[in-house]
């Protein structure tokens, strides 16, 4: 595996120069002839009965082409539990409920038309606290389920219950036990590009749908189901990606605005674009869900973990998107972070009249890790053990099978912890309680795909043109993370071409093979594995061609030289050096005999072979192309929430040094070290980019970010009041790449998209405790909370 030419190199992202020069076609720039602009009218109430909707005035506004309400479109349910309709016509259950929509010739006219729609509501009592909503006599957010059967409770019928070993017995036998509660807020994904799509039907009602989804085949499937349910059966659907400005979880589900866009396109027979304003992005796009955890952990007198018991309550909001499935990933740290034999976990998702939630980078792991990693420090303190040492005692080892059934393959967690200890000067700085302190936290995450659908596969097609250009049709998507560069490096390595030869087309259901989606930190791993396999097939085909064509080319050249110069004596060449593809190698565009890499006659530029192979002239010409569909050998979670759902797992540790201003409660991060197990870094610069970006989002999660929802309404729906960190908040982050190539990874690589943000917030909370002796278990850790805690302690 050594002597890699392209993997492991900091290949620049030249394919993306269009982005920085403004030429890239994002959804904003994507235009179709005659295209209209759609806008959505949202509810005025968190819970109300719609008494009437009058769209007459809006319809008369010049430039308006369509105004639709729930009465104008089939009453079809959508979403993962089918608990909502596209436009709501009887009851609104949250402020972002879509009540009507307009298509007009400009976005401004569409916006004006919304103001002319008159909706009369009868307010209903609303419920915003999930604890209240769980009570038996609580008012119901939904009277019936998707099939019209009456519901008796706001608790969702989801099976999030896990048990391994005997927690009660283990608690009895534990020397030290700690128990505490944590809460985490809603977090907006803050993509640079806001949501949007363009829907366009042809005369046969076939749909071309340009969308930012990072699950193009999943989206196609959901839209097909929707079209079928509204009476458009058997229509062809092509899903295309524009250039996407970030996903971070938002492009996983098909959102309501997308169905609205499709309805407006159907109604107007024109292409229709919907693009969110930033305010809509905050108020009408599902965020990472808010959660409450109660966590109890115990250890024996040597500091070995004995049990872990976690109960989570997730505010589901009024409807259900992927947020409700994040317990499947919360399972990761809860069951498998450190060696813990007895585990119990239960997550309850509760309907409220709040905004509903979906995926965000980490998919439940950041919330659960905050619970687990703060509990680790509490327990370490109770047991009188240094928190770093406590983590080392309990660390995972290669070859472990965790209570959840995860098979740990490579695991350099020990190195991650020790690296952080050393770089943050742990032993020197810890335990001073002088306003400065250090803290750490670790993580485990899927890093070898994640079998959340029955297939976790991905397909890749490669064709090589006669000039030696390598066209790749990927079934995956790129949302800006650098996959065109990373996949090009992998393909260049596997095929023997150069990264700059590789041209990748992402995000088109008409061209690519099926893919489960660019999510779960899976793209480099899964698409990379498909790329290596397809690349090897391509290389084999070329070498087979070379066996036929090198002798031909060499002999022809010798003949020509003889013709030119009658005195030329052709050399005696050993053609057995190249009589089998196994005896040839292709690297850096050159084909040569393995036995004589610098052979003056046989070493041939690959383009010559491709041209020669294509232009045979006797009905035997050959084009080079290959495709591979690769599905990792993993398991779905079973009914007990057990199963090895990823090929491999990534570990990592974040260490933070903070300074706390005891008079203002402000926390300043002096240093953050984030050491991550990445298997092998295909492109170290891009890996570090992932770690830096994730660490920043993790710091925001720890200290500043929250979607503030007051009585169901988002009150900070802009970047002034939503405190994501800026370029000015230049926190010194040191990203450390720990390499331990994983046998299952492409050239040993593991996924690194999500891990960076997971341990950051708990590391900060732990460092604050070390600095000033107060525990803030409620994110974000605002100066108010720190100061209030200090005051309560009499400091």
């Amino acid at each position: 595996m050594e002597n890699l030419l392209h993997v492991g190199k900091n290949v620049p992202r030249t394919a993306e120069i269009d982005k920085v020069t403004g030429h890239a076609v994002y959804i904003d720039e994507y235009k179709r002839p005659g295209m209209l602009y759609g806008k959505i009218l949202y509810s005025q109430y968190a819970h109300a009965r719609i008494k009437s909707i009058n769209t007459e005035k809006a319809k008369k506004l010049p430039g308006v082409r369509a105004v639709i309400t729930g009465y104008d479109i089939p009453d079809v349910r959508v979403g993962f539990l089918g608990d909502q309709t596209v436009l709501k016509r009887d009851i609104v259950r949250q402020f972002r409920d879509e009540v009507a929509a307009v298509a007009a010739i400009t976005p401004e006219i569409a916006e004006d038309a919304l103001k002319l729609i008159e909706v009369e509501y009868e307010p209903l009592p609303a419920i915003f606290d999930p604890i209240e909503a769980m009570k038996p006599d609580a008012a119901l957010v939904h009277e019936t389920d998707a099939r019209g059967r009456p519901l008796r409770s706001n608790i969702l019928p989801l099976p999030w219950k896990f048990s391994a070993g005997d927690v009660d017995k283990a608690r009895e036998e534990s020397t030290y036990v700690v128990k505490h509660d944590v809460t985490t807020p809603w977090i907006n994904q803050c993509c640079m590009g806001t949501s949007g799509c363009v829907a366009e039907f042809d005369s046969n009602n076939n749909l071309t749908y340009c969308a930012q989804t990072n699950v193009i085949f999943g989206a196609k499937q959901r839209i097909a189901t929707y079209l079928r349910n509204i009476g458009l059966k058997g229509k062809k659907i092509r899903v295309l990606n524009p250039v996407v400005g970030g996903s971070f979880g938002t492009k996983l589900d098909t959102d309501i605005y997308e169905f609205i866009c499709i309805q407006l396109a159907l109604k107007t027979r024109k292409p229709v674009k919907i693009r969110f304003t930033r305010e809509e992005e905050f108020a009408a796009l599902p965020p990472r869900q808010a959660s409450r955890f109660t966590i109890e952990q115990g250890c024996d007198k040597e500091g070995k973990l004995t049990f872990r018991k976690v109960d989570a309550i997730l505010d589901n909001g009024a409807y259900t998107s992927w947020g409700a499935t994040t317990p499947s990933v919360m399972m990761l740290p809860i069951s498998s972070m450190y060696r813990v034999p007895n585990v119990s976990f239960q997550a309850t998702c509760v309907y409220t009249n709040n905004i509903y939630s979906q995926a965000m980078r980490g998919y439940g792991n950041p919330q659960a890790a905050f619970a687990v990693e703060t509990s680790m420090d509490l327990l370490a303190e109770k047991a009188g053990i240094d928190p770093a040492e406590f983590r080392l005692i309990n660390r995972n080892h290669p070859g472990d099978v965790t209570p959840m059934g995860l098979k740990i393959t490579t695991c350099p967690l020990e190195e991650c912890i020790n690296t952080v200890k050393e770089k943050i000067k742990w032993d020197e700085k810890r335990g001073k309680k002088n306003g400065r302190g250090v803290g750490m936290a670790s993580l485990i995450h899927v890093a070898g795909g994640a079998r959340v659908y029955l297939s976790d596969g991905t397909g890749i097609r490669i064709k090589v043109n006669e000039d030696g250009e390598v066209d790749v049709l990927s079934g995956s998507t790129d949302q800006g993370q650098g996959s065109p560069t990373v996949i090009a490096q992998i393909i260049a390595e596997a095929t023997g071409f150069r990264p700059e030869d590789v041209n990748i087309v992402f995000g088109d259901t008409a061209l690519g093979l099926w893919d489960a989606g660019t999510h779960a930190s899976r793209h480099t791993f899964v698409a990379g594995n498909a790329a290596v396999r397809a690349g090897e097939l391509i290389k084999r085909q070329i070498l087979e061609l070379a066996v036929q064509h090198i002798p031909k080319l060499v002999k022809r050249s010798l003949k020509q030289q003889q013709k030119k110069n009658p005195d030329f004596v052709p050399p005696e060449l050993d053609y057995t050096l190249i009589d089998s593809p196994d005896k040839l190698e292709l690297k850096d565009r050159m084909i040569y005999p393995r036995e004589a890499p610098d052979h003056p006659y046989f070493k041939t530029e690959v383009g010559k072979i491709l041209t020669s192979g294509l232009h045979v002239g006797v009905g035997e010409s050959k084009a080079v192309a290959a495709e591979v569909f690769w599905d990792p050998p993993t398991q779905m979670l079973n009914a007990e929430m057990k199963g090895n759902y990823s090929c491999t797992y990534a570990f990592g540790t974040a260490g933070v040094e903070v300074e706390v201003d005891k008079q203002t409660g402000e926390v300043k991060i002096l240093k953050l070290v984030s050491a991550h197990d990445v298997g092998r870094a295909i492109n170290p610069t891009l890996v570090k980019g992932q770690i830096y970006g994730a660490a920043y989002i993790g710091i925001g999660y720890g200290l500043t970010e929250r979607v503030q929802v007051v009585d169901g309404k988002v009150v900070n729906a802009n970047f002034r009041d939503y405190k994501i960190l800026t370029a000015n908040d230049n926190i010194p982050v040191e990203a450390v790449i720990i390499e331990d190539p994983d046998p299952a990874g492409p050239y040993g690589a593991k996924g690194i998209g999500e891990p960076g943000l997971v341990p950051t917030a708990p590391a900060i909370a732990n460092a604050i405790y070390d600095a000033v002796g107060v525990w803030i278990k409620d994110l974000p850790i605002t100066p108010e909370k720190v100061l209030a805690a200090l005051k309560a302690q009499g400091q």
Binding site: G665, K668, T704, R720, D721, K723, N728, D729
Partner: protein
């Protein structure tokens, strides 16, 4: 956002004339507030009268104190050596508005005329006894900034009138000032609280000893040293933002500090009284109790910062150095 006509006068007179002849018109300078309001649909002017090309309001004149044109940008103010040295609080305030990109175009005239309760240059101008220079059809008049700012988005301008600049007196070399913005991040943020202080002091002992006091790391040691050197607070100004509908002076605190020799007790009182004069409210941006607490803390810090600067210990050290 609606269409509007855009006018580009080159002189103050021309601007006032154009404005006089228009209905539903608004001045625009840097545009960093006007464009936001336009986009949000909170204002819908048919005409915008741009002050970008009016050269006479874009100057800084340093004779007899200072006169800063209303069209001077925050970046120009924050980078101006004379302002940094003699009117440090204003350089502090101008240097923390919005972001670098915003400071490069946003003007001080705009920051004051927008009259946000959180305006970062308002408190500095209040403690520096600044007056707004107002031009109108009938000539020029000067109004103390304290009277000029009336309430949220309200200033004492008659129709057609235009702020052309701000005049600030000279304070001599026994005066220092500072502004501290308390916000959650370092750019694109409104203050949860802003505090400006100006202090004119008299030193019984040696100025050099006072300067050296700031080499100490413990704040109470610094104050004790200053006290030992007989540092008297001759004249103090305190202004606070976001604790009332408009930035306000803490006059009782100012009065109480006057003539006192510095001590931890005096500092404590100054903070307490200023806090008692603040009327912060709970909002989703910050809690009242916390803002009131921060008035206490930051008033003390801004006062010490002012003294530190006066002694020449350092002209622009980040406030966090001391704590």
């Amino acid at each position: 956002m609606k269409a509007y006509d855009y006018h580009k006068p080159h002189t103050v007179k021309e601007a006032i004339d154009i404005m006089g002849g228009l209905e539903n018109a608004k001045y625009i300078a840097g545009g960093t507030d006007v464009m936001v309001l336009l986009r949000q649909g909170k204002i819908n002017p048919a005409n915008l009268v741009s002050l970008r090309n009016v050269a006479e309001i874009s100057r800084i004149d340093t004779q007899n104190g200072i006169r800063i044109g209303a069209g001077v940008t925050h970046t120009q103010i924050a980078n101006n050596e004379f302002i940094r040295e003699h009117y440090s609080a204003l350089a502090d305030g101008a240097g923390v508005v919005g972001s670098k990109q915003i400071r490069n175009v946003a003007t001080i005239g705009g920051n004051i005329c927008n009259a946000a309760p959180s305006a970062d240059t308002a408190c500095p101008l209040l403690v520096l006894d600044a007056e707004a220079v107002i031009a109108g059809k009938s000539g020029e008049r000067q109004v103390p900034v304290d009277d000029f700012i009336v309430g949220p988005s309200q200033v004492a301008l008659e129709k057609g009138e235009l702020v052309t600049g701000f005049v600030i007196p000279a304070f001599g070399d026994r005066t220092g000032s500072a502004y501290i913005k308390h916000a959650r991040r370092l750019a694109m943020d409104l203050p949860i609280l802003g505090i400006a202080v100006r202090a004119t002091v008299k030193i019984g002992g040696a100025q050099a000893a006072c300067r050296d006091a700031f080499k100490l790391t413990d704040v109470s040691d610094i104050v004790k040293r200053l006290e030992a050197e007989g540092l008297v607070l001759e004249d103090v100004r305190v202004a606070m933002s976001v604790v009332a509908p408009r930035p306000v002076r803490a006059r009782k605190a100012e009065e109480a500090a006057k003539g006192k020799t510095i001590s931890e007790k005096v500092l404590e009182e100054l903070g307490e009284i200023a806090a008692s004069e603040s009327k912060p409210r709970d909002s989703f941006r910050g809690e009242a109790w916390y803002r009131r607490d921060m008035v206490k803390v930051l008033t003390k810090r801004a006062l010490l910062k002012s003294i530190e600067r006066m002694t020449g210990a350092s002209s622009m050290v980040a406030p966090s150095r001391l704590w």
